[in-house]
Symmetry: C2
Subunit: 131 residues, 2 copies
């Protein structure tokens, strides 16, 4: 059966993106493949083998257009408050924390942060269905 293994996003500045994902999410470069016209960078941390793939097109002269279709990539953390404080101290500009009541009677706490290319990342506190 098909297994989800990575999601790919195009980024304008490789160094800025790699630095962001390292500091925000502890993701490290697991592979970096350099081609004539583009570079592929795979990022991973020890929590899961699911990877984030960055595509860096060498001829790209302007930031990409985010559109309004794609939403976000979500990560869970044990201590949301501590992570929010850490994001602030790392100058990652996290949005305000939210709490969302779900129709099944549970709730979820989280916050959003935006990467250097404008992609949204959702941070969720572990619990309920978000483990």
């Amino acid at each position: 059966m098909a297994k989800a293994v990575h999601t790919m996003i195009r980024v304008f500045d490789e160094d800025k993106a790699v630095d962001f994902y390292k500091r925000a999410l502890g993701l490290n470069v697991s592979s970096r493949f350099d081609f004539d016209d583009f570079t592929l960078v795979f990022l991973q941390n020890p929590e899961t083998d699911f990877e984030l793939e960055l595509t860096v097109n060498k001829g790209q002269e302007a930031p990409y257009n985010q559109g309004d279709a794609y939403g976000h990539l979500a990560f869970t953390v044990d201590d949301l408050d501590a992570e929010h404080t850490r994001f602030e101290s790392e100058n990652l500009a996290p949005a305000k924390k939210f709490e969302m009541s779900l129709p099944d009677g549970t709730s979820a706490r989280g916050f959003f942060v935006t990467d250097p290319d404008g992609y949204k990342i959702e941070m969720i506190e572990r619990g309920g269905r978000f483990l």
Copy 2:
């Protein structure tokens, strides 16, 4: 440490999206949360606990704009040729198969397919770094 748990995409027609992801990737609805203004649908299959979250905004009157930033979600399968044939028989309109040589000396075989909202899905044959 932060763990990647889902990626969220906005879809225009919930039924069409759920049908596509069921037939193409064996993803089933793990949770469906209905709110006044939107519905959240989480999709998952037994291969991994990583989920695909669909957001269905009830006031959306036109398809979303895909932009050119977000790339794709990738899945691995054991038998790429058999999956390509199955996708054709399911009228999922898979693109032609490709083979990509990687700078580390390995190669990867795959094909792309497009979901009802225009999101690209990459199917990759298991092997090498793609497991």
